[in-house]
Amino acid sequence: MKLSHDEIFRYSRHLLIPEVGLEGQEKLKAAAVLVIGTGGLGSPVALYLAAAGIGRIGLVDYDVVDFSNLQRQVIHGEATLGKLKVESARARMLDINPDIQVDVYNEMFTSENAFRIAEPYDLIIDGTDNFPTRYLTNDLCVLTGKPNVYGSIYRFDGQASVFNADDDSPCYRCLFPEPPPPGLVPSCAEGGVLGILPGTIGTIQATEAIKLILGIGETLSGKLLLYNALDMSFDFVRLRKNPKCKVCGENPDVTELIDYEQFCGMPANDHDAGSAGDEWDISALELKARLDAGEALHLIDVREPHELAISQLPNANLIPLGQLAARMHELDSAEEIVLFCKIGTRSVRALEVLVSAGFRKIKNLDGGINAWAEEVDPSLPIY
């Protein structure tokens, strides 16, 4: 794919590198890359791939730009709040580089549409936020023979690798044959993430994608990068292909895409407000009415101590989820207990812990203290 004079000038700093050169830049122009997710990881990935001159970039996301995204999702801005993320990202990418083609897929990435969406692309970048979509992306890449450039983040920790780069390259399932049970690993919506962390990991993913396309250097295939921003440590562990892997092994069980939400036992997004089901849930308005009526309800806040500085409910006792099992003796199962957290996901886990210990008079504040702030007490901030 020939470059125009304008493109030669635009990419001159690439053309000067012997490992890239004119031939390499033409490879980048001929390449097609699919980016799953245009959030924390997808933002730097999409920005740098656009700037680098990847000829065709696909973006998959079904969300809209939210105010709380802007702390880390640097491809979006206040001007695109409330707009579709894929459209917001496309506009920014074409502003950087109008010579590229940006395809947008404003839909959830699912087993039903994954083959259709991925078909035109040479490699896939996993910038998702949940286990079902990660397993889907992995299996799709194995079944279609496309490299999977992986990145994942939590608080100060990041991971990156390249899966399925060739026949000898392990896949995500070789390392993680099955997902952790729901609730063990908090999402970034509950646990938080340093805003810069996806920038670090996303730029590593973009780098690996460019190297794969150019066929230069040594990629992260067969290695897992473990980055910690607090220690500023970059550690590597060796990954091997698992001959018994259910998707890329010698006798695979998974020969087509499956129901990944069922496989992971959780929905394919990380921001559903927590609900324990009708029987266990209490809404913020209902809780307010019952407290106003003078009912004796024991409010238990299962968030972390530092979250009290953001918002609190009066007369609530703090027992962080991680301490609940050890501090259960502080609770009286004869009392009616209402559990809450930020959005209701940790309190659902807490409810499960208590129910399995025999507690029955117990409720989960649906939507957490954020729902209380929205529906009952607007003087509290939402976070």
């Binding site: 997710g37 245009t38 959030g39 924390g40 990881l41 997808g42 996301d61 969300d63 939210d66 709380s68 995204n69 996993d126 910038g127 998702t128 936020d129 949940n130 286990f131 990660r134 990145g151 994942s152 983040i153 939590y154 608080r155 100060f156 920790d157 991971q159 390392l175 993680f176 044959p177 099955e178 997902p179 952790p180 063990l184 690993v185 908090p186 999402s187 970034c188 919506a189 646990g191 993430v193 996806p198 990991i201 897992l224 473990l226 590597f236 562990v237 060796r238 990954l239 091997r240 997004n269 990380d270 921001h271 972390e304 962080p320 989820l321 991680g322 301490q323 099992a325 050890a326």
Partner: protein, 93 residues
């Protein structure tokens, strides 16, 4: 004494610690010592039947213990045993 490095998501179950000195001649003994010190970790690492849960990835140095001798892998005084977590974050809110 070997050191076990805990990933961030498991630290709340070990009083927030990131690295814990563990006693044991092999990986299994070290893990038993870990859950004796921090019983809240038990259900995150082991099934009800007492076997290591399949999503728990243990690395000794750079190597996955599954490619060594599994939980029978012997430990030396200065070994670093690391649990590598599944983390899913990356995109949205």
């Amino acid at each position: 004494m070997p050191v076990l490095r805990l990933p961030t998501p498991l630290r709340p179950y070990a009083d927030g610690q990131s690295a814990i000195d563990v006693q044991g001649q092999n990986v299994a003994e070290a893990l038993n010592d870990l859950v004796t010190q921090h019983p809240s970790l038990q259900k995150h690492l082991f099934s009800d039947a007492g076997t290591l849960r399949p999503f728990v990835n243990l690395f000794l140095g750079e190597e996955d213990v599954r490619h060594l001798q599994g939980v029978e892998t012997e430990l030396k005084e200065d070994d670093i045993l690391r649990i590598i977590p599944s983390i899913a974050g990356g995109n949205n809110r």
